[in-house]
Each structure stands twice: as structure tokens, then as C-alpha cells.
């Protein structure tokens, strides 16, 4: 099984207000592995991620999304704490939005076989103007695809190159040192035109 080292976890965090008041915290988690060069600090890598990758994606989200920040750390060391980096990006698309549990979904594929080496990401909230019935509009699909493809490219920082990976939480041992990180580099990203669901993000029942 592919054992990874120098794997950094970046958690992008934001909030969206519910219709009835209160807000939902939205988190998207990404993993990058050092491919070459010397390891950089987690916060520096997160800053590079924020400025070159997340900024293009967050622009596709509905304006109700308010960025909070990024938490980053190397998951090779179970004792390392997250480092916080403030967000600079909010959603930009105006107009009405879809319910919170409707999301743009993409599939992540790796060279290694098996369900432990596949992944998916769900991005929400979505603007109604980006969708037509069950799917993204053609224009929205193109811009979402551009943002997603950009998200899963390498991060280059001071000679170090980080590549996006899928980490298997089932096969890895991340609770105590020495940690074992099992995963595989992402080889392709596929955007679903069909609107996906992310039930944990839905608003609580109101009658």
C-alpha cells in the first residue's frame, strides 16, 4: 500500500446563514503531499493554497458563503496542532440560492485501485442562476470545472512542490505517533453536472 510522508491537511472553513436564523459551518478538507524540495511550514502552504487555488473556487459560490479561515497541519505528526490562517474570500454569485444540502460534486481518482483511493468533494452553497433543473448550466459547468481542475494541481512554494492526494482514513493510523498515512496522488478530477446532495449541511427542520 502506498505510504505517504509530509502530508499536509488544509481545512477551508466558512459559514452560511440559514433562512430561519443561525448559521451552518461549512468545511472542505484537502490533502497535499510534498513531492520534492524541503518541507515548508503548514501556514505558508495554506496561504499559497488560499491565494492561488481557493480564491478561484470561492468565487463560484453563492454570496451567502462567508469565509472564516484555513486550518492547516502536517498529519504525519499526531501531536502537531492546526495553524490558523484568516480567510480573504467570500462567495460572489448573487441572487437566490438552492437549499444548503444541494452541492456541486466532483470525483477524485487515483492510480491506486479500490474505494480507499477514491474521493469526492462537495461545494455549497449554490446559486440558482448556476443551475437549470437537475444540472449545472453549461456556462456554470465550464467555470466550475476550471476552478476544480485548478484546485487539484500542484502547489509550488520556495522550490518545494506539493501534489494533491487522497488520504484513506480507514487504512491510515493518524491518532498516535508514529503515524502511518496511506493514500495516493490524485490523477484525475471529474465534475458532475448533476447537482449532488450533502445532507449534513442541511438546515434543521422548521415547521
Amino acid at each position: 500500500m502506498p505510504v505517504l510522508t509530509n502530508v499536509i491537511e488544509i481545512v477551508a472553513e466558512g459559514t452560511v446563514p440559514f433562512t430561519t436564523g443561525g448559521a451552518k459551518v461549512i468545511q472542505n478538507v484537502f490533502h497535499y503531499q510534498l513531492q520534492s524540495g524541503t518541507p515548508q511550514t503548514a501556514v505558508d502552504v495554506a496561504q499559497q493554497f488560499r491565494d492561488n487555488k481557493w480564491v478561484t473556487l470561492v468565487a463560484q459560490l453563492h454570496e451567502s458563503y462567508t469565509g472564516v479561515g484555513f486550518n492547516a497541519r502536517y498529519i504525519d505528526d499526531a501531536l502537531e496542532n492546526y495553524t490558523f490562517l484568516a480567510s480573504t474570500g467570500d462567495g460572489l454569485i448573487t441572487g437566490d440560492r438552492l437549499p444548503m444540502d444541494m452541492a456541486v460534486a466532483c470525483v477524485l481518482r487515483c492510480a491506486a485501485r479500490g474505494k480507499n483511493f477514491r474521493g469526492s468533494k462537495h461545494f455549497t452553497p449554490l446559486a440558482e442562476s448556476d443551475t437549470l433543473k437537475d444540472e449545472l448550466t453549461s456556462a456554470a459547468a465550464i467555470s466550475w470545472n476550471t476552478a476544480i481542475q485548478n484546485l487539484f494541481t500542484t502547489i509550488n512554494l520556495s522550490g518545494a512542490v506539493y501534489i494533491p492526494v487522497v488520504v484513506s482514513k480507514t487504512l491510515s493510523q493518524l491518532r498516535t505517533n508514529p503515524c502511518t498515512v496511506i493514500g495516493s496522488p490524485i490523477t484525475s478530477v471529474l465534475l458532475n453536472k448533476t447537482i449532488g446532495t450533502m445532507r449534513r449541511r442541511r438546515q434543521r427542520t422548521s415547521r
Binding site: F18, T20, P99, T131, L132, S206, R207
Partner: protein
């Protein structure tokens, strides 16, 4: 508890064409019971009564992508063995404009005077028009319209032979466990509440289309 010998079900059948061209079936089922042994009756008057009282007000609030096909009325096998009766053609949705994805639905909680999950129910109606919603919820106007339409689900229906059919919540679990194979465990549906929050009906969603 709630053991009934004379029950019937009616399923509304319709389809929605998804953005990718797939034909997705949308069904909603309703259960009724008669307190007394019913005299034989023709299906058509019952179907017409169901359509005019219950289904037409509901379907008028669905998005126009919904195309009604037919009603499938049946006696549960424990009452009179036999197949379903396809009766009539069902009306189609009446609200124009854009719609939400098929997996979004208007959720209605059904309650009876009995406690326990066996005597509660849930109905999910879709497709939902965008004009009926704001963010995660129904607009107040749409909620009022849906509440009015759903109230008709509590009305007893008359068939052509003078039998009265009461709306019911049937427990499939208790019915299966009932030692009397002829009885169905169902109770009077006494409350139907439309939720403000939009619900999910994932079985209905379009199969994945990739970019």
C-alpha cells in the same frame, strides 16, 4: 390496535424528464380504510373523488415538468387477492418557471392520535418550483397554499356505492406481524403538517451526468 379488515391503496403515478433527458418516475401512495364491510363498487367514481378532493389541489402546486400518467388503485392482498387496477389518467403539474433538482421535495408529516413511529407518516411531493422557495425553505405564501392543499388529505372519500373511505396511516411492520393475515394495522390520519424546510427524496434524483 388499529386492526382494519377493509383497506385500499391508491398510488399516483407520474414522470419527470430530467435535464439530461432521463425519465424519472414519481409516485405517491395513499391508504384508506372502510369501517364497515364495503359493498362492491366501481373504481372510477372513487378515482374521480380522490382526484377532485385530494390530488388535483396538490398537483396544481407541483412544477409543470410533472406529467401525470395514471392511478394504480388496489386492495392490499390480505383483503382481496388480485392485481392493481390502473384507472384513469392523472393531471399534470401546474406551476411554470424554473424548478429545483428532483431530489428536493415538499415534506409533509402525517400524524395520528396514536403514539409511536408506526403511526406516523411522511409524504414527499416534487418537483418543486423555484418560485415557491427562498433559500432553504418554502415562502410563506407557498407554505399557506400547500397547507390548504394538504388539508384535503384528511377528508373521507365516498365511492360510487355509498362506502366511506377514511384516510389512514398504515404500519407495514405491524401489519406483517399481525397474527390475523386478513387485517391491516392502520389508524386514522388526523394531522398533516407541511414543513417550511425543503426535504430530500434522493431516490428521485437524476442519475449522475458528468461534465
Amino acid at each position: 390496535m388499529g386492526s382494519r379488515l377493509y383497506t385500499l391503496g391508491i398510488v399516483t403515478q407520474g414522470v419527470v424528464t430530467s435535464s439530461g433527458g432521463q425519465i424519472r418516475p414519481v409516485r405517491n401512495s395513499f391508504v384508506y380504510y372502510s369501517a364497515t364491510p364495503p359493498t362492491p363498487f366501481p373504481w372510477i367514481p372513487f378515482q374521480l373523488a380522490f382526484e377532485s378532493v385530494v390530488w388535483s389541489p396538490i398537483v396544481a402546486l407541483l412544477h409543470s415538468d410533472y406529467t401525470g400518467i395514471a392511478y394504480n388503485a388496489y386492495y392490499p392482498a390480505r383483503f382481496t387477492p388480485g392485481t392493481g387496477h390502473l384507472v384513469g389518467s392523472a393531471p399534470s403539474g401546474g406551476v411554470m418557471g424554473d424548478r429545483l433538482p428532483l431530489s428536493v421535495a415538499i415534506t409533509v408529516r402525517l400524524n395520528s392520535d396514536f403514539r409511536g413511529k408506526n403511526f406516523q407518516g411522511l409524504k414527499s411531493f416534487g418537483p418543486v418550483a423555484e418560485t415557491h422557495t427562498i433559500d432553504d425553505e418554502l415562502t410563506p405564501l407557498a407554505h399557506a397554499q400547500w397547507t390548504t392543499a394538504i388539508g384535503n388529505m384528511l377528508v373521507p372519500l365516498l365511492d360510487g356505492a355509498g362506502n366511506t373511505w377514511h384516510p389512514a396511516i398504515e404500519s407495514r411492520v405491524l401489519t406483517a406481524l399481525d397474527p390475523n393475515p386478513l387485517a391491516a394495522d392502520c389508524v386514522d390520519m388526523t394531522y398533516a403538517t407541511v414543513r417550511f424546510r425543503l426535504g430530500l427524496k434522493r431516490h428521485r434524483r437524476e442519475r449522475t451526468v458528468t461534465f
